[in-house]
C-alpha cells in the first residue's frame, strides 16, 4: 500500500473504522506517516479527513482497528501524545473570550519546551496584537494565532486541519508554506489536510487521498505523477463516446478533441493512444487536482463532454 512504510513512522493507522449512526465516516483506513515528511491528506467534504485527524489526536476512540502515534494509543495516553503534537483545528477553536496574550500564556503552561522568543517572533510576524480578544480577530488572524500556539513549543509532529482556510494568498505562500517547510527541514513531521490541491502539491512529500472513508492511494507525490498521464488527443470522428484507453480515469472534451487522464506511464499511454488511431496533441503529467478530480470528484467520471 505504502512506499513510506519502510521509514520510521510517527503515525500508524490500521484498518480504522468509524460510524456515526448510519453514516460510515471511515471504512478501514490504513495510513503510515513517516518521520520528517510533510504528509498531505486530501479528499472531498465529508470524506473523513477531520474524523481521521480526531482519531490521531485521541478525540475519538477507534470503533475498530488501531491508531498509534509515536507508538502510543492517543486515547489511552493522551498526555504523552499531545505533549509531542501541535494541532491547528479546522474551526480555530480558541475560546473567543481570551486575549491573544492570555491564550499564549495559557498554552505555554502545558509545554515545558515552549520557546518564548520564537513565540514572540511569530506573534510579530503574524502582526497579532496581544491585547486583542480572539473573538474580534478575523478568520485569517485566528488561523495565525492557532498556528502560533501549535508551533511555539516546536513539537515533533504538527497536525494541521485545513490550515489555509481563511488565509489570504500572500499569507498562504509566505507564512504557511515557509513554516511547514521549515518544520519539515528541521526533521519534524507535518500532517495536514487541505482542499487546496495546488498547495498540497507544492508542500507535501507524501499524499493520501481519502474518498468516502477509504484511502484511495497513499504515496509520494513523484510516484503519483509518474503513475498518471494526461493526454490531449484528437480523432477523426466528430461524434461518439469518449475514446477508450487502458487505465482511463477521466475524459473531458467533446467532438474531435478530448483530454484523457489515465493511470499508467506516460510513454506507454502515448504509444497506446497512437495505436488506437488517436492523434496525441499534448502529453504531460497531470496535476494533483487533475488526478483528484479524475478519481473522486462526483459527476466527473469518464465521458464528460463539455
Amino acid at each position: 500500500m505504502t512506499e513510506a512504510a519502510g521509514l520510521e513512522s510517527v503515525i500508524e493507522v490500521r484498518d480504522l473504522v468509524r460510524k456515526f449512526r448510519r453514516k460510515q465516516a471511515l471504512a478501514g483506513v490504513d495510513i503510515t506517516v513517516p518521520r520528517g515528511v510533510v504528509y498531505g491528506l486530501v479528499g472531498e467534504n465529508g470524506a473523513g479527513k477531520t474524523t481521521l485527524l480526531k482519531h490521531i489526536l485521541g478525540s475519538l476512540r477507534a470503533q475498530s482497528g488501531s491508531v498509534r502515534v509515536f507508538g502510543m494509543d492517543p486515547v489511552k495516553e493522551p498526555v504523552a501524545v499531545l505533549s509531542q503534537l501541535g494541532y491547528l483545528s479546522e474551526d480555530r477553536d480558541i475560546p473567543g473570550w481570551m486575549r491573544v496574550g492570555e491564550a499564549i500564556g495559557y498554552t505555554q503552561a502545558f509545554y515545558p519546551g515552549w520557546d518564548e522568543a520564537y513565540a514572540e517572533s511569530l506573534r510579530e510576524r503574524f502582526e497579532l496584537d496581544e491585547r486583542a480578544k480572539i473573538k474580534t480577530l478575523s478568520r485569517g488572524e485566528k488561523a495565525k494565532c492557532g498556528l502560533l500556539l501549535a508551533l511555539a513549543y516546536r513539537p515533533p509532529l504538527l497536525v494541521l486541519d485545513e490550515p489555509s482556510s481563511g488565509l489570504d494568498p500572500s499569507a498562504r505562500h509566505d507564512i504557511l508554506e515557509a513554516i511547514v517547510r521549515t518544520v519539515a527541514d528541521e526533521g519534524r513531521t507535518v500532517l495536514f489536510s487541505s482542499h487546496l490541491l495546488d498547495e498540497v502539491e507544492r508542500v507535501a512529500d507524501v499524499v493520501a487521498m481519502i474518498h468516502r472513508g477509504k484511502v484511495v492511494f497513499e504515496e509520494s507525490l513523484d510516484s503519483i505523477k509518474a503513475r498518471h498521464g494526461r493526454l490531449l488527443v484528437s480523432r477523426e470522428e466528430e461524434d461518439g463516446p469518449a475514446p477508450e484507453l487502458p487505465g482511463l480515469l477521466h475524459a473531458s472534451g467533446g467532438g474531435r478533441e478530448w483530454t484523457l487522464v489515465c493511470e499508467g506511464e506516460l510513454d506507454a499511454l502515448r504509444t497506446e493512444a497512437t495505436a488506437r488511431g488517436l492523434l496525441v496533441l499534448e502529453a504531460d503529467t497531470p496535476s494533483l487536482e487533475d488526478v483528484f478530480l479524475a478519481r473522486v470528484a462526483p459527476g466527473k467520471r469518464k465521458g464528460t463532454a463539455s
Binding site: 485521541g58 493522551p78 477553536d93 475560546p95 481570551m98 500564556g105 505555554q108 502545558f110 509545554y111
Partner: protein, 510 residues
C-alpha cells in the same frame, strides 16, 4: 412551495412550533396537576389560577419565540442576515416574518382557550372567560414590543438603554394596564390603544430591519463593549502560569467562576426591585440564599462543559477535574462567606431578629444554638446545595436531580411524614450511595479519580452508611429523619467527585 411569502411563513412556523408545543404541554401538565392533585401537590401552597397560568404561559411562549435559536450555536435574537438577502421588500419581509410568528402565538392562544374551556367544564363560567379574555391581549403586546426591540436594537442601539429603562417602569404599567384598557365601556379606546401600540411596535421592527439592511450600525456602545472597556483597563494581557493546574484553574475561573460574583448581586437586586415594583413581600433573609443558589444553578449549566480547545492540550483528566473543583470552590466560597457575614448583620437589622438578639444581649448571653440556627445552618445548607447544583450539567447529576424532583413531593412536601412513607426514600438513598461507590471505584480503576479521593470518599460514605443502618434507625422518629436526609445529602455533595471525571473522560474521547 411556489410563493416566497408562503416559504417564509412556513419557515417561521417551523421555528416557532417547538416553543409553542413545549408551552402547551407544560400548560396541560399544570392543568392535570391542578385537576388531579391536592394541596400537597402545590408548591408551598402558592396556587395560581389556570387563567393566570394560561396568560403567563403565552407570555413565556412569546419570549421563547424571540429568543429561539436557529441552527446550532446560533442565537435568533436579532433579525437573521440570511433573510435580509432575500429579494423581498423590507415591508413585506417584516410583515411575513412577524405575521407568521404572531399567527403561531394566535394558534397557541386558541389552543389554550379551548383547553381552558374544556377544563372549566360546560357551561363555562362567563365571568371567568371574560376575565381571561381581558388579559389575553397582554402577551401579544408584550411579544410585539419585545420582538420589535430585539430586531431594532442592533441598528438603533439607543433602544438598548431605552428598553432597559422601560423595564424599570414595566411593573407599574403592567399592574395598571387592565384597568386602563378595560374599564367599564372603554372598549373602543382600548382597541385604539392596542392598535397604536401594535403599529408602533411594527414601525420599530420595520425600521430596525430596514437599517440593518442598509448596514447602518449604531455608534452607541453595547453593554458588553462597555464591560470590556472597563475590564481591559485593569487586567493584564499577558499571564505567567507556574503549572498546568494553575493555568487551567485560571481558565475555569475566567470562563465560569467569576460570573457568580456578578450574578449574585444582580439576582438579589432584581428580586429586591421586583418586591418593590410589584409590592410583593420577600423575606429578606431567604432572598440572598435564593440569589446564591440560583446563581450557582445558572453557572452550573456551563461549568461541566469544556471547550474542545482544552482537550487538545496535554492535560490529565484528573488535573482538569481538580481545576474545576478548585474554581468552583473559589467561586462559591467568597459569596458564601459574605452571605454568612450578611446573615449575621441581619440579626441586628431585621426588626424581629433585632428584637430577639437585643433581648439575648440584655440578658448577657449569646445563645450559640440561636446563632447557628439563624446563620450557620442556612449558610451550610445553601452552600451544599449551591455546590451540588454547580454541577448540574453532568449527566449523573442531572439524573439524580430528576430522581430527587420526582421523590421530593412524595417525601418532604408531605406534612404527614411518617416512617412508612420514608421507606421508599430510604431505599433510594441506599441505592444512590451504592451506585456512587460503584462509579467511584470504576473511575479509580480507569485512573481518572485519584486514589486518595476515592479512599476519602469511600471511608466517609462507609461511616455514614453504618450510622444510617444502625439498629436505632428503625426505632426513633425525628432523629432518624434527620439522619436519613444527612445520609442522602452527603452522597449528593460527593456525587460531583464521581460524575465530573466520567463526563470529562467522555468529552475527551467523544
Amino acid at each position: 412551495m411556489k410563493s416566497k411569502y408562503g416559504a417564509l411563513a412556513w419557515e417561521q412556523l417551523r421555528i416557532c412550533r417547538l416553543p409553542c408545543a413545549g408551552i402547551f404541554l407544560s400548560l396541560l401538565s399544570f392543568l392535570l396537576v391542578d385537576a388531579l392533585g391536592d394541596d400537597s401537590s402545590r408548591l408551598y401552597g402558592i396556587v395560581f389560577s389556570p387563567e393566570e397560568v394560561a396568560i403567563f404561559s403565552l407570555i413565556v411562549a412569546g419570549i421563547l419565540i424571540v429568543l429561539r435559536r436557529e441552527g446550532q450555536n446560533r442565537n435568533g435574537f436579532g433579525f437573521q442576515n440570511r433573510l435580509l438577502a432575500l429579494p423581498v421588500s423590507t415591508f413585506r419581509l417584516v410583515c411575513a416574518v412577524l405575521g407568521a410568528r404572531v399567527l403561531c402565538l394566535l394558534l397557541l392562544s386558541g389552543a389554550v382557550v379551548v383547553t381552558l374551556a374544556l377544563y372549566a367544564g360546560s357551561p363555562i363560567s362567563a365571568n371567568r372567560l371574560r376575565l381571561f379574555s381581558q388579559g389575553l391581549p397582554i402577551p401579544f403586546l408584550l411579544y410585539l414590543g419585545l420582538q420589535a426591540w430585539a430586531w431594532s436594537v442592533r441598528a438603533l442601539r439607543g433602544f438598548l438603554y431605552l428598553g432597559l429603562l422601560a423595564l424599570l417602569f414595566l411593573p407599574s404599567v403592567w399592574t395598571s394596564f387592565p384597568n386602563i384598557v378595560y374599564n367599564g365601556n372603554m372598549l373602543a379606546e382600548s382597541l385604539l390603544i392596542f392598535a397604536l401600540y401594535g403599529m408602533a411596535a411594527f414601525l420599530l421592527a420595520w425600521l430596525g430591519v430596514h437599517y440593518q439592511r442598509m448596514d447602518r450600525q449604531s455608534r452607541v456602545p453595547t453593554i458588553q463593549s462597555l464591560y470590556l472597556m472597563i475590564t481591559s483597563a485593569f487586567m493584564p494581557t499577558k499571564r505567567k502560569f507556574t503549572s498546568a493546574l494553575d493555568a487551567q484553574l485560571w481558565f475555569e475561573h475566567r470562563r465560569i467562576g467569576r460570573q457568580l460574583y456578578v450574578l449574585v448581586p444582580v439576582i438579589t437586586l432584581a428580586a429586591l426591585w421586583c418586591s418593590f415594583a410589584f409590592d410583593v413581600d420577600i423575606h429578606g433573609r431567604s432572598l440572598f440564599y435564593f440569589a446564591f443558589i440560583i446563581s450557582a444553578a445558572i453557572t452550573g449549566f456551563y461549568r461541566v462543559k469544556t471547550e474542545g480547545f482544552v482537550f487538545t492540550r496535554p492535560i490529565e483528566i484528573r488535573t482538569l477535574v481538580r481545576a474545576k473543583y478548585l474554581a468552583t470552590f473559589r467561586a462559591l466560597v467568597p459569596p458564601l462567606f459574605l452571605l454568612t457575614l450578611l446573615m449575621l448583620a441581619l440579626l441586628f437589622v431585621l426588626p424581629f431578629d433585632r428584637y430577639v438578639t437585643t433581648a439575648f444581649l440584655r440578658k448577657g448571653i449569646i445563645d450559640p444554638l440561636y446563632v447557628a440556627a439563624m446563620v450557620i445552618r442556612p449558610a451550610l445548607i445553601s452552600g451544599a446545595l449551591a455546590w451540588f447544583i454547580s454541577w448540574a450539567a453532568a449527566p449523573m447529576i442531572t439524573r439524580t436531580l430528576i430522581v430527587m424532583i420526582l421523590f421530593t413531593p412524595m417525601g418532604i412536601m408531605r406534612e404527614e411524614f411518617m416512617l412508612l412513607t420514608e421507606r421508599p426514600l430510604f431505599y433510594s438513598v441506599i441505592a444512590l450511595n451504592l451506585w456512587c461507590i460503584a462509579c467511584l471505584i470504576l473511575g479509580w480503576r480507569r485512573a481518572i479519580i485519584p486514589t486518595r479521593v476515592m479512599l476519602a470518599v469511600v471511608c466517609f460514605w462507609a461511616v455514614m452508611l453504618l450510622a444510617a443502618l444502625a439498629p436505632s434507625w428503625f426505632e426513633a422518629g425525628e432523629y432518624n429523619t434527620g439522619l436519613l436526609y444527612l445520609s442522602g445529602l452527603i452522597p449528593l455533595m460527593f456525587l460531583p467527585f464521581v460524575a465530573v471525571p466520567f463526563k470529562m473522560q467522555s468529552l475527551r474521547t467523544g
